[in-house]
Amino acid sequence: MFSTLSDRLTTVLQGLRGKGRLSDADIDATAREIRVALLEADVALPVVRGFIAKVKERAKGSEVHQALNPAQQVVKIVNEELVNVLGGETRRLNLAKNPPSVIMLAGLQGAGKTTLAGKLAKWLKGQGHTPLLVAADLQRPNAVTQLQVVGERAGVPVFAPEPGNGVGDPVSVSRRGIEEAKAKQHDIVLVDTAGRLGVDEEMMKQAIDIRAAVNPDEVLFVVDAMVGQDAVNTATAFRDGVGFTGVVLTKLDGDARGGAALSVREVTGQPILFASNGEKLEDFDVFHPDRMASRILGM
């Protein structure tokens, strides 16, 4: 649908090839194209600004001036800077020295937390771990049932002492989940929590209380790759509220450019650990910054 960034830049810089030198005006025009491409990819506006400033500075340096094909060189710079922001290397999950390790999932409604809980459980089990899923979303209709089904599909037990649908205390369930894991010798606990808005103070406090009760090794912020400019508000609210140590990007099997990856990473500084790319439990991978950079640019 959108023309790719390389197409855009090639158009802007047409005729410049062989000229071997870009004027500042050429670079400004180029920067405008990059700006639009990033906005179309849903990169958050403040992040776009900072990013463009960085790229401009590099583009005015000698590496572009001396390039045979300035457009290509600019695309290369953009790509490198993107990978930089997205995090050069993938960080692995932090696990506790003394098991059980605790991983708590948090995010907006419908982001893909419960599905991710199942994916992580299955993936960890495949690596020889013995995870336990804890059903601490007692709010969304049948969230507990959903996690039970997901657990069954993953072949991983689910601790679900409360029926949910408004009944039970998620903080207490989480705490008891850790005790259960210790008693039954599970080495990893995955706590599925209810979806919540960044602006919902009561629900954010609940997440903070769950965190305090389980003292997690990782709090993963789960974010939908289709999210737009709100990524900044929401990521900031979760960072300042419950706080998180890593990010998981979901629904990457669609065709959203996923500029949110850049926004969340740049705004919170937390690494993106995993990419979720389908509804089935095996549709899941560690995050690859280089693939994400190409995707954002449409290349």
């Binding site: 849903d42 049948n142 999210v227 400019q229 629904k251």
Partner: protein, 279 residues
Amino acid sequence: LLGAGDLDEDSWQDVEDTLLIADLGAATTTEIVSTLRSKIAGAGVRTEAEATALLRSVLVDALHPKMDRSLKALPHAGKPAVLLVVGVNGVGKTTTTGKLARVLVADGRTVLLGAADTFRAAAADQLETWGKRVGAETVRGPEGGDPASVAFEAVKRGMDTGVSTVLIDTAGRLHTKKGLMDELGKVKRVVEKQAVVDEVLLVLDATTGQNGLTQARVFAEQVDITGIVLTKLDGTAKGGIVFQVQRELGVPVKLVGLGEGADHLAPFEPGAFVDALLG
């Protein structure tokens, strides 16, 4: 702010930022700004308040405030009205279906829910919980079964029991998945064998960015969308993608979702929407 009947550059920047941050997208933002520029030049705007009022009216106009946003949910020729709820994963289809049932039941109608999401874990249970909450029967099929046949059975049951409205909840599916989109087309065609589908509501999540337009296009091609429901407007997201969606599809936003509760559904009002966007 104002010099010689125009805004200064910082103010123009603020206007542009407001629109971009609301997810209107780069092209629509440029258009709105240039419309505003020519209006401001023509109207001889003197104060910041006048400029804001003008921006408000340009935005409201861009939402085609005269569009018919009524919901066709009443029975005809002795047959129930049938509504189909569609959209990508996790946007709020099942919740919206439950809330819609609540509105109709409160209005004295009888409603039947069809759980045509046979795929997602506990999707039918979730809908059934909603049904119990609002007082509507739920027709469901076997897990992993054919969604079209559940939809068919639901409409059949609705006709047999003489309900006023059958609401069919479908599975979340990404518009990029051809097989799932074909399946959705089949759900609709099968329903149409025995009843008219009065509304196909596309649920869009207000947090969605520019991909929302692509979603809308592909769903519209597949099942002729008749209305948009914009959910999760109770958060910080503004939902500005609907400017492009409404214009391109020529289909109105009819309802907005304002929370997870049964009563958190409201008619879409362009003025209020724009006020929230600017506020």
